[in-house]
């Protein structure tokens, strides 16, 4: 691997990791509060990508504005989905998981009908290409990294220092005890689902200019999110951050060195090893 190749692969790894971290932290947040694996998370990511496509390409809004709108709109959609579909199930976890599976298929189907099955391109905010000693990387890829870092810092600050964020941590640790302190657990569940969806939407919206947007784009990324939260520890946001970084590097360097399929295999092999050696994941309790 030449120095230029290395730089290129490194930047790609960071970009990929950024998207993975956003995706997985939303996934794990929902798990930590509701104790369900949200199989529709990939489709929420896809909706984020379509949202940014419509806002920026059809309504010609500035990319960053479109990004913010995509996050908000899909976040609110998440809140509605929780209220209308998940809440009435009264924390019956298995039915909720099956519901999320059905929701994934329904959203994919609805998206195919409403938006069409073809690939849609999204123009990024910049068309400059940066060169670092032989390596070339487009600004639209690079910009993903600081935006994701900013979103993650905001998420950590929210959870750590705001009253509502503290309430979320309390519910994640013991929902009965949280209710006894006066926390409205149903409200926190709803909010967590909304924030989780907003994070998935951010991931989808940020990646949209790099890849094409289509109704099926969520299928592979949900597997990535799954590997990441098992790696990091189910329910741990720090775990999702570290797991996302690891998988971003594995995928990027694995693909450059050995090709895409081998990279995928390495990811799963890593998962199996972690599950054998430390079943609760790196940050799991």
């Amino acid at each position: 691997m030449t120095g230029a190749e290395f730089t290129q692969t490194l930047l790609n790894a960071l970009m990929l990791a950024s998207v993975y971290v956003l995706m997985a932290s939303g996934f794990t947040l929902i798990y930590s509060i509701m104790h369900i694996v949200n199989f529709a998370h990939g489709e929420i990511y896809m909706l984020g990508a379509f949202a940014v496509y419509y806002f920026s390409m059809e309504y010609h809004l500035n990319f960053f504005l479109a990004l913010v709108l995509a996050i908000l709109v899909v976040g609110v959609l998440g809140i509605l989905l929780e209220r209308v579909l998940f809440l009435p199930m009264q924390q019956a976890h298995l039915p909720q998981v099956i519901l999320s599976l059905g929701l994934a298929m329904a959203l994919q189907g609805i998206a195919s009908v409403a938006f069409g099955a073809g690939d849609r391109p999204v123009d990024g905010p910049f068309d400059t290409v940066l060169r670092f000693g032989g390596a070339a990387i487009s600004m639209e890829r690079l910009i993903i990294i600081p935006i994701s870092v900013a979103i993650m810092i905001a998420l950590f600050a929210f959870v750590k220092w705001t009253r509502t964020g503290q309430a979320m941590r309390a519910v994640a640790q013991d929902s009965d005890a949280a209710a006894l302190q006066g926390i409205d657990v149903a409200f926190i569940s709803c909010l967590a689902f909304g924030v989780g969806c907003a994070l998935a939407s951010a991931a989808g919206a940020l990646i949209a200019p790099v890849f094409y947007v289509n109704p099926f784009m969520g299928g592979s990324v949900i597997m990535k999110a799954f590997i990441i939260i098992c790696l990091g520890g189910m329910g741990s946001i720090s775990g999702a951050a570290v797991g996302g970084l690891i998988l971003g590097f594995v995928d990027s360097f694995g693909a450059t060195l050995f090709g895409n399929s081998v990279a995928n295999i390495i990811g799963f092999a890593l998962l199996i090893i972690i599950l054998l050696v430390r079943p609760q994941g790196l940050f799991g309790r």
Partner: protein, 235 residues
Amino acid sequence: MHLKLTDVTVHYGKVQAVKNVSLEVDAGDIVALVGANGAGKTTLLRTISGLHPPTAGEIRFMGQRIDHLRPAQIVRLGIGHVPEGRKVFPSMTVLENLLMGAYSRRDRGSVREDVESVYQHFPVLAQRHGQLAGTLSGGEQQMLAIGRALMSKPKLMLMDEPSLGLSPIVVEHIAEIIASINKTGTAIVLVEQNVALALQLANRGYVMATGEIVLHGKSSDLMQNEEVARAFLGR
């Protein structure tokens, strides 16, 4: 302050865990609630706090019906709950746990002072204020659970087996704390396996068996009662 349960029945699915329970707690009371494993004591406390809805009957607190309120609303009315098994937030520090206890309060300004007064009750919590609650010993966790419930400034405190699994010295300390909380005007419902201790602290008591109240009265009378003595006091 007055809590009144009238013919409260609670089910888990089809299984009846609490049957037609009527019970009263007055201001200043310490009421012991004792009974064998599985008698329904925890279920009853959870129902009072709104964690599990009753299937029949009525619960009134200070005249207001609370049996269909959510737990958050019930805490705000002034019922604190020290749950069975302590249930502290393991990945939060001691201080964060105490602050969570004040979550329902509107007078945020005086929360810090109340943290200090909890620390006076339990100096060990002050020493460990930055430590994660999950790393505390059982006795320390119990003190934290009590301190956390105090932070909501309850008029009535429900305590579910605060002595469980603790050494005799710690149990004695907890008993002193319960008495001193009561002296500041907080009524207490005390569920205990340690029946001698509960009846000693309480002024009145209820005995539960398979979901029903089978005996109640002044605790001095209950202590003299032959059945109670045989079943619980090992006499």
